[in-house]
Symmetry: C2
Amino acid sequence: MEAIYPPAATALVRLTHEVERAFNDTSREFGLTPQQLQVLCVLHAGPVGMGELGRALHLEKSSLTGLVDRCERRGLVVRIRDSCDRRAWRVGLTDEGERLGEQGHQGVVTRLDKLTSRLAPADQARLTDVLTRLAALADE
Amino acid sequence: MEAIYPPAATALVRLTHEVERAFNDTSREFGLTPQQLQVLCVLHAGPVGMGELGRALHLEKSSLTGLVDRCERRGLVVRIRDSCDRRAWRVGLTDEGERLGEQGHQGVVTRLDKLTSRLAPADQARLTDVLTRLAALADE
DNA sequence: TATTGTTATACTCTATAACTATA
DNA sequence: TATAGTTATAGAGTATAACAATA
């Protein structure tokens, strides 16, 4: 697969596989799906509306309905009526969701750190610096 | 989501979303699923056995059977009997699979280049350098 | 006996279209 | 009329377990 990508894209795609692997392995370790772990990560910052959650995850609203349903059924999240708009819901973590989100996050970070820590310290600093700058561009 | 990751892992995860988005958008543009495009990318280097393909994609063998079935049904790949082992199959691209693989690859690269090209030239060089080194570590 | 791959089964994930309820 | 979210439906993706054929 590497051969057909130019350098920067090659490496980005290659590393994406590692991040996906970290998410797959970690979520499985805690009896979650990768998508459920994603939800827990997004909600760690606090409850959000379904619309906002869907945009964060790049999902159609009906896809999100199902995902939140399954998360709720597993006791990870709860739907709370929006106090201002009776059509809307906010989604927040349960204690269990908070706990698994923390542990899952830690598992992903640990796996990724295990990889990046093998770089020379100067390279680690450069990696963080350039990636952070690139991530900022992607956010604009 | 950013808030709970330390710098390097944060940016890696954030950029993974961009790569996934590039794959999602591109594959959709060509009427493929992201997983099917992945298969085309792996097979671009030449036919491989089911076992090797499964390892490359980190899939259980039964999952791969289904994925290859659907790719075959769409005319993207063909199964060819292994000449040495009558239990085994090799999977290769059809002309259509080759064509869509090329175009899909180009679409992903174009999207990612559009992002990285916004970095200063010196940063682009640093990005490629460090990411390539990190990818090499992940391959060991 | 061990290995290669498929089948059977059960979920999860996702999108499109149609719908309900509220704004 | 427009928006927030759900339901109905269909297909894709994945894993586990049991199985067939070959080594």
